[in-house]
């Protein structure tokens, strides 16, 4: 026993080294597996406050361009919605007993909240964006985020009380359901981690006619994104002969280098959709096990 203690005491530095390495690697790998880290919740608040201070300064340099973009979007929204159904007040919350139907009896499915980007990167393999709205303002996981010009930006993956973390489209684990505007065919938009200007669109069969410059939108079968928000335009067409599917290079319509203002879009019926999806899966699996 005494020898064991002597041994440990002698190599205390090496053991500390091993211990700290294991702790660091544990952080790293649990984070990757679950796309989030519980322990980041608190740190999020602290770094978020420093980031928003910094951002107040940085905002001044991009104000002019941002104003022009916001104005353009507001303009197009006013054309789309003559009755200004959407509040633009940043302090708003959705209250359940507000009228969920419009005058034609259409049910509201998506709800938008504005937010400001306080930190973002494009250099890493796994890029995240931090925004200044959190659970206290009604942000939840899996909400879609679009830029101020209506182009898809990412999905919320982690929320603290006043800030949230968004997994950008420029994230190697990201995959968003997309569709071609011209033919309506569904594919998946992913990122290969190489160039932050380009995404990859996979799973479009080669029978579909594709041209350079075609627009790619978010698809109508996504649980997170509302349909019709622009992801990008086709830049390069390649055919993967082993699968018979295209690998299309997309130029992103969002400029990830200077994101400032974004909209967070909530799919109000997402929980119901996901629940139905899961239950169906379970039902079919069980039916397979016990043959009728």
């Amino acid at each position: 026993m005494r020898n064991i203690f002597l041994f440990i005491r002698r190599y205390i530095t090496f053991f500390t080294f091993l211990l700290l390495q294991v702790v660091a690697l544990w952080f790293l790998f649990t984070y990757n597996r679950f796309h989030r880290a519980r322990f980041l919740g608190f740190a999020n608040e602290v770094t978020g406050r420093i980031n928003s201070q910094y951002n107040q300064v940085e905002d001044y340099f991009t104000l002019k361009e941002e104003n022009r973009r916001v104005h353009r979007l507001n303009d197009s929204l006013l054309n789309l919605l003559p009755r200004n159904y959407m509040h633009r007040d940043s302090s708003m919350k959705m209250i359940q007993d507000s009228v969920p139907y419009d005058t034609l009896g259409n049910y509201r499915r998506y709800f938008t909240r504005p937010a400001t980007v306080v930190y973002s990167t494009v250099n890493a393999q796994k890029n995240y964006i931090q925004i200044n709205r959190g659970s206290a303002q009604g942000i939840k996981d899996n909400m879609a985020v679009v830029g101020s010009d209506g182009s898809a930006v990412g999905v919320v993956v982690n929320v603290s009380s006043n800030f949230s973390q968004v997994m950008s489209l420029l994230h190697v684990q990201n995959s968003v359901s997309a569709s071609l505007k011209r033919s309506g065919d569904f594919g998946t938009a992913e990122w290969d981690g190489k160039d932050p200007r380009f995404l990859l669109l996979r799973r479009i069969p080669k029978s579909v006619e594709v041209k350079k410059g075609d627009t790619v939108l978010t698809s109508s079968v996504s649980f997170n994104f509302p349909p019709g928000y622009m992801i990008g335009t086709i830049e390069d067409i390649q055919l993967d002969n082993t699968t018979g599917m295209y690998v299309l290079k997309l130029k992103t319509s969002a400029n990830f280098n200077n994101l400032q203002q974004v909209h967070v879009i909530e799919n109000i019926e997402r929980d119901e959709q996901v629940k139905l999806f899961e239950e169906t899966k379970k039902k079919i699996e069980q039916a397979k096990k016990s043959p009728r």
């Binding site: 702790v23 660091a24 952080f27 990757n32 494009v122 250099n123 393999q125 995240y128 190489k194």
Partner: protein
């Protein structure tokens, strides 16, 4: 200014520069992200014990990780650098002088050539390990290799520019100190 206060300020400064300048500048190329924050560990005084070196390295890495949203990645690399540091100093400094004349590693304390080797080896270790972890689940070997070389090159350039532009005024250590 005490060593303790000076190093706290230095850590804050390096982290802020890393997060708000080096990670924000338009990237030269997808492989190249300059890193300088770990210079904090290279500049820690000689008198810090090996155990505390590891702990300080871990803390510095975790603080940067919180900003970069990559928990553990930089911490792991920093702990490795902190672990390798005493060995390198042992090899690169003359054996016969049992005491160091200066408080912390610098070109003046160690001579230029040993200091350059010291910085180069630790930089290569840091980037090699970090890029290895980052690309573990993703990426090709050639990409990994180019990225390590390119980031090491640009980081060395930054560090030596910093050394030449801002020579630290180090007190010569005497018996009274």
């Amino acid at each position: 200014m005490s060593d303790f206060l000076r190093n706290i300020l230095r850590l804050a400064f390096f982290i802020l520069v890393q997060v708000y300048v080096l990670n924000k500048i338009p990237h030269l190329h997808r492989f190249i992200t300059p890193y300088i924050y770990y210079l904090f560990i290279l500049w820690l005084p000689f008198s810090v014990s090996r155990f505390w070196l590891l702990v300080i390295g871990f803390i510095a890495g975790v603080i940067l990780d919180y900003f970069m949203m990559t928990p553990g990645l930089h911490a792991a690399a920093c702990v490795l650098v902190a672990y390798a540091r005493p060995f390198l100093i042992g090899i690169l400094t003359p054996k016969d002088s049992s005491e160091f004349n200066y408080r912390e590693p610098s070109p003046r304390a160690m001579q230029w050539t040993p200091y350059a080797v010291y910085v180069f080896v630790l930089t290569l270790l840091h980037h090699g390990y970090m890029v290895f972890l980052e690309w573990l689940d993703f990426g090709s070997f050639l990409g990994f290799f180019i990225k390590v070389i390119a980031t090491t090159g640009i980081s060395l350039l930054l560090i030596f520019t910093a050394e030449l532009l801002f020579p630290r005024r180090l007190k010569f250590r005497t018996n009274t100190a």
